[in-house]
Amino acid sequence: MNILLVDDSKTMRNIQKKSLSTLGEVQFSEAGDGLEALAVIGTGIKFAVVMVDWNMPNMDGITLVRKIRETDKATPLIMATTEAEKGRVLEALKAGVNNYVVKPFTPDQILEKVKQTLAKAAGAAPAAAAA
């Protein structure tokens, strides 16, 4: 599977990579801000999940989520951010994220969030196909 990691911190992207590589055969793509992420998405790779940080230069995560959702309602998006206030979580959900994980997180916590999100997306896909 392909996973896109969007965070302006290379350290954080490496931490996520280390944890999520235990999912199995994973190819990672990376972006340091929302604009770079859109360029990566524009190459046509189908991502199983996109991890999005909120506070980034050039284009922040919430703007990126809204941009993605203009044309793609299906790709699972997970906000991984220090923004923990209820208002921020609601704003992200309204923008179209499927899940939310607050930094700091343990490797197990982020892995579990991604597994939950993938499982839910897999459950939704057969239902959509049958409809």
């Binding site: 931490i15 280390k18 923990a84 930094k103 343990t106």
Partner: protein
């Protein structure tokens, strides 16, 4: 500065150290920074994060090189051998997470934090007319400080 401002930064630091740095870290006695205090005698690197919204001010994390390298190594999970771009990135992310974990607990409500800036400690400029609280933390490789200068703006964001 009251304890409602202090405790979020202590618990925020502990959360980051427990979850991601996985190193013990004990807070020392808080004190007010002296106006002419020369932190650069003890520390050489500072990470600065601006605070705005319902509060206005700065968070400054001051470190000596050895502590900086050990914290960056612990977060990244691989040795940081010098103060290079990767090390600075790790330090910035540590400060970012501490500020983020703290701000959700501040009593005033929604606070916005800036992208971290790395500076040489002597180059840090503190807001004038505001006290600066200094929180020392001791971890296995040495001491670092969080300095918080913050005032309530009276603005409340829903």
């Amino acid at each position: 500065m009251n304890v409602a401002y202090i405790n979020p930064f202590i618990t925020g630091t502990r959360e980051v150290f427990d979850a991601m740095i996985r190193m013990p870290c004990a807070v020392g006695k808080p004190r007010l920074r002296e106006t002419d205090e020369r932190s650069h005698k003890l520390y050489s690197i500072s990470v600065v994060i601006g605070l705005s919204g319902s509060v206005s001010g700065l968070l400054v994390m001051n470190l000596a090189e050895g502590v900086a390298l050990s914290m960056a190594s612990a977060l990244a999970g691989e040795p940081a051998k010098s103060l290079n771009a990767d090390t600075f990135d790790a330090l910035a992310e540590i400060a970012n997470m501490i500020a983020g974990a703290a701000k959700k607990q501040l009593p005033q409500g929604q606070v916005t934090i800036t992208v971290p800036t790395l500076l040489r400690t002597p180059d840090v400029v503190y807001p004038t007319g505001q006290p600066v609280l200094s929180l020392p933390f001791d971890c296995p490789t040495g001491r670092f400080t969080l300095e918080i200068s913050m005032r309530d703006t009276g603005r409340r964001v829903a």
